[in-house]
Subunit: 513 residues, 2 copies
C-alpha cells in the first residue's frame, strides 16, 4: 500500500515531466482577448440589478435543501436561516466572495502545455455537456454509449481549437448510472491530456473523481493546484439541492473548481424579462459561491449563467434569440464587477440537425460569448436539440468556428508588417496585390482557413456533388478519429487507475439511479 | 406638357399625403441602437490608420479615370493632379468632407412612415444587391428575371424587418441591359413604398432614376430632400472609374445620396492584412467623398466598406471569416471619427444554398454589422454564393434574424415591469413563474418569436417530417407573396411614370451593354 502511495505521487510527477516534452497534437493556447467587452448596461443599470439581487436574497432568500452542514455554515457566517430557507443581509454574499474567491485561477492539465487560465481576459472552449443522445449522418440519432463518449474526448483532444476535454460529453447510457463516472473520468484522463470536468451526480462520485485525479496528479499536488472543474447547477428558482451542494462541497474541500450555474429557462424558472432573469441569476450564483467560499475560503469558483428564453406559446426552450444574449452580456459585466471568472455561452441551438437554424442560433450565442468576455465556455462544440443531442457533424462545424475566434481575438495587427504601408506605397493604382512581395510573405498566414467551408464556384461545387456543409463535415470527424493517437501516460499510473476503478466497481452493485 | 409638369408636382405631394393615412403593412421602424459600439482598435490605433491613409493619398494618390470634370474640381480644390493621378495634401480630404457632408440624413420614402434616418445610432436594413442568379428549393438556381425582381421588392415590402427596398435585388436578365433600369426603378416605386436605390450602371441611367423620382416626389421637393440612395464602388486598388463617378455626380448634383464604397477582396485588391485593407479603404472612400462634396457641398454621402478575405489557396472570396469582421469594426470606428454615416455588413456567405455554412457566415457578418454600428446595411437578406445568387429561402431565414436584431437593439428594459422585482419578491423558491401575474402580463411580448425556427421535441419534429430549416422557409416566402397587396399610388402619377418610361424606351434601341 505504501509503495502504491509513493508510486502514485512520484509517478504523477514523473508522468507530468515526461509529458512536458511531448507536443504530439497541434494546439492553440486558450484565447486571450485583446478588446474591451461589449456592454449592454451602464454602471447605473448594473448597480440597480445588484441592488435588486440583494433585495431578493434579503427578503425571499434561497433554499439549501437537505444540507444541514450548509445551513450551519451559512448561519455561522451571519445568514438568517429559517428551516431550509436562507436569507442574507445586504452585501454579505458579495463581501464573502470578494474576500477569498480568486479573480483568476489555473486549471492544471495532465499535459502542462494544456493548462488553462480561467478568468480575466481569457476564454477557454470546452465541448458540449450532458446529452443523452448522439447523432451523425450515417446512423442518425441514438442513445450515447461509452464509445461515443471516448470519441468526443478524442475529437476534443485532436482539435487545436478546444482547450478543454469537458465533462459529460455525452451520457454513456450503456453503462450503469452509478458506475459510469469511472469510465467517463478515466476516458478524460487516458484519452486526452487536456483539462477535464468531474462527476456531480452524487457527492460520492465527486469524491471518486478527486481520488482518480490524485492517482494521476498526486494528492499533495492537488492541495496546491486545481486539476478538476465541475458543473454545479442551481435548481431555479432559488433552490440549491443536496446532490449539487454535496458535489460542490467535495470539490471545494479538495481545492478543486466549481461552476456555480443557475440553469434558467426564462419565463418558467425566472420572470419573463431580461432584467428579472439577470437579477435572479446573480442572486442564486452569489449564494452558491458564498457557500463554496465558506466550505474552503479561496477555493476556485466560477460564476455561471445559462439562460434560454422559453417559447411562451409552446413552452419549449429556444436558443440564439436576442433576450438570452442580453442576459449573457449583463451577467458577464456583473461577474467582472464582482471580480470572479464567468462561465456562459456555447454553440446552443434547438435544431435537431446541423442545418441553417443550428448555425444561426449557435453563432448568435457564440458571438456574445466571446464579445461579452466569457471565461469558460461549456457547450462550445457539438450541441444540438437544446442539449439533448451531441452531434458529430455539428462538432466539426462548431470547432471550425472556434478556430475563427482565435484569429479574431488576436485583434488588428498594427506591426509594421500588419500596417502594410510599404506595400501600399509601392503598389500602383489598378494593380492587384497578388504578386506583391508583401502578399507573398503573408500568403500562408494572412487569413483564417476553414477546413469545411466551401468557397468554390457553383459549377465546381455542383461537379463535386452539390454537398451541403453538414455532409462535408461527416468525413472530417472520421478522419480526426482515424488519425487520433492517444497521448502518452505513465504505465504505472494507468495500471493503478485501472486497478482502483476495478476495485471500486466490484465493491457495490450496479444501479441505474 | 405643362399640365403634366404641374400634375407631377402636386400629384406627388397629394400622393404622399394620401399615403400618410395608410399603414397597410406591419412595420418596425429602423433600429436605433442603445449601446456603444464594439471597438477593436484604440484611439491611437485609429489615428495611426488615418495617418497611413493620408500618406497613401499624398504619396501614391488615386486615379480618377476618364473624368476631366472630376480632375478639374479636385485640382481647383487643392489636389495635385498629374494626368489622371490625384494626390491629396495631408488632411485635405478630411477637411472637405467634415466641412459639408452631413453627419446624418433622412431618406424620404414614398410613404413617409417608411422614411429612414441614416447615420448616428441608427441601423437600416436593405436586401441583398446585384446578383445575376436567383434560387429557390423548387426551381434551383437560374438567371434572375424581372418577375424575380418584383418578387423580392414585394418580399422586402411585406417584411416588417427590412426598412428599405434596396436596389438591384437581382438582375432582371430577361430585359435588355440598357433599359432594365426603368423596370427596376418602377418596381421599387410601384410595388413598394419603402425607400429605394437608383441605377449606377451608366450616368444617364442615374439621371433617368432621378427623373422618375421627380415624377413621384416632385422636382422641388427633391432639391430639399433625399429620396434616392445609390451604390458607388471604387475600382480598388486606388481607382475611381468614369461610370461610377458619372453616376455619383448625377445623384450628388440632384442632392441625392451615394454610398462611396471600396469593394475589396483583401489579398488581391488590397494588402493581405487587416490594417492595410482598412488603410486603403479609408483612403479610397475619403477621396470619393471629397469628390462628391466638391460636386455639391452638403450632398448626403455615406462611407462604405465591403471587404472579403481572399482564400490565399484557391483565390476565391470567403465570407464570415474573422479578418473582414475586424475590418468592419475598424472602418465603423473611422467613419464615426470622420463624422459620416457608415455602410457595410450584411448576411454574407460563399455557400451555394441556405445550409449551416450560409448561416454561420451570415451571422458572423451580421453580428459585427449591428454591434459595430453600421448605419446602412446592404445585403441584409437573401445573399448567397458570394453575391452571385439571391435566395428565396435564404431571404426568409435572414429576415427572421433581422427581426431578432430589433429586439436586441432595444437593450435591457429597466422599467419597473422590466426589473420584475415584484415578481421576484412574490414568488416562492422552487415555484415556477408560468402562472405568475407578471408572466401572464408579459406573455405576448416577452421574447422574440421566430416564424421559422423549430423548437419542438425531436419526436414532434420527426412526425412532421424531420424538415430542415431552409425547407421550412420555402412555404413562408410563398405565403408572403400570396398575401402581398401593393401599396396605394396616385393613378395620375402611376400613369405619368408608365408613359414616361414608354417614351424613353422607344427613343433608343435595345442593347446588352
Amino acid at each position: 500500500m505504501s509503495e502504491t502511495r509513493s508510486g502514485r505521487r512520484s509517478g504523477g510527477r514523473a508522468g507530468r515531466q515526461a509529458l512536458r516534452a511531448s507536443t504530439a497534437v497541434d494546439r492553440v493556447p486558450f484565447l486571450t482577448r485583446t478588446m474591451a467587452p461589449f456592454e449592454v448596461l451602464s454602471a447605473e443599470g448594473l448597480e440597480l440589478i445588484e441592488h435588486n439581487a440583494d433585495t431578493l436574497l434579503e427578503q425571499v432568500g434561497i433554499e439549501f435543501r437537505d444540507s444541514p452542514e450548509a445551513l450551519a455554515l451559512l448561519r455561522d457566517a451571519g445568514a438568517d436561516v429559517d428551516g431550509e430557507r436562507v436569507r442574507f443581509p445586504r452585501g454579505m454574499c458579495r463581501q464573502i466572495v470578494q474576500a477569498t474567491a480568486p479573480r483568476t485561477f489555473t486549471q492544471v492539465a495532465r499535459n502542462p502545455a494544456n493548462n488553462v487560465e480561467i478568468g480575466g481576459m481569457n476564454t477557454v472552449f470546452a465541448p458540449a455537456y450532458g446529452s443523452p443522445f448522439v447523432s451523425d449522418l450515417d446512423n442518425g440519432r441514438r442513445y450515447g454509449t461509452i464509445e461515443d463518449f471516448r470519441n468526443f474526448v478524442k475529437l476534443a483532444y485532436v482539435s487545436p481549437y478546444l482547450h478543454h476535454s469537458g465533462g459529460t460529453v455525452c451520457e454513456p447510457v450503456d453503462l450503469p448510472v452509478n458506475k459510469r463516472h469511472y469510465d467517463m473520468v478515466y476516458a478524460h484522463l487516458r484519452y486526452s491530456d487536456k483539462p477535464f470536468m468531474g462527476s456531480v451526480t452524487h457527492p460520492e462520485r465527486a469524491e471518486d473523481t478527486v481520488e482518480m485525479a490524485r492517482i494521476v496528479f498526486g494528492a499533495d499536488f492537488m492541495e496546491e493546484h486545481t486539476v478538476i472543474l465541475s458543473l454545479i447547477n442551481a435548481n431555479s428558482p432559488m433552490v440549491w439541492d443536496s446532490t449539487m451542494l454535496g458535489a460542490a462541497r467535495a470539490y471545494a474541500r479538495a481545492n478543486q473548481a466549481v461552476l456555480m450555474t443557475p440553469f434558467i429557462l426564462a419565463g418558467a424558472m425566472s420572470p419573463a424579462t431580461v432584467a428579472g432573469t439577470v437579477t435572479q441569476t446573480l442572486a442564486e450564483a452569489l449564494s452558491g459561491m458564498t457557500y463554496v467560499q465558506l466550505v474552503r475560503p479561496g477555493a476556485p469558483v466560477v460564476l455561471g449563467s445559462f439562460a434560454s428564453s422559453l417559447s411562451m406559446q409552446s413552452g419549449a426552450p429556444t436558443f440564439g434569440t436576442p433576450e438570452p444574449a442580453l442576459v449573457l452580456y449583463a451577467m458577464a459585466a456583473l461577474a467582472r464587477r464582482l471580480g470572479v471568472p464567468f462561465r456562459s455561452g456555447g454553440a446552443l441551438t434547438a435544431s435537431k440537425l446541423a442545418d441553417a437554424q443550428a448555425a444561426y442560433e449557435s453563432t448568435n450565442t457564440m458571438q456574445p460569448t466571446v464579445l461579452g468576455g466569457v471565461n469558460f465556455v461549456l457547450h462550445a462544440a457539438g450541441w444540438l436539440e437544446g442539449g439533448l443531442t451531441m452531434g458529430y457533424e455539428k462538432f466539426v462545424l462548431d470547432h471550425d468556428q472556434l478556430g475563427m475566434w482565435h484569429a479574431f481575438a488576436r485583434g488588428v495587427d498594427l506591426s509594421e508588417n500588419g500596417q502594410a504601408i510599404d506595400a501600399l506605397l509601392t503598389n500602383e493604382p489598378g494593380t492587384h496585390f497578388l504578386g506583391h512581395p508583401h502578399t507573398l510573405a503573408n500568403f500562408e498566414t494572412a487569413f483564417y482557413r476553414s477546413p469545411v467551408a466551401d468557397n468554390s464556384s457553383f459549377e465546381q461545387w455542383s461537379l463535386e456533388g452539390g454537398i451541403e456543409s453538414a455532409r462535408r463535415a461527416n468525413p472530417i470527424w472520421k478522419r480526426m478519429l482515424a488519425e487520433y493517437e492517444p497521448p502518452p501516460i505513465d504505465d504505472a499510473i494507468d495500471e493503478e487507475l485501472r486497478e482502483w476503478i476495478e476495485r471500486r466497481k466490484a465493491s457495490f452493485p450496479d444501479s441505474n439511479v
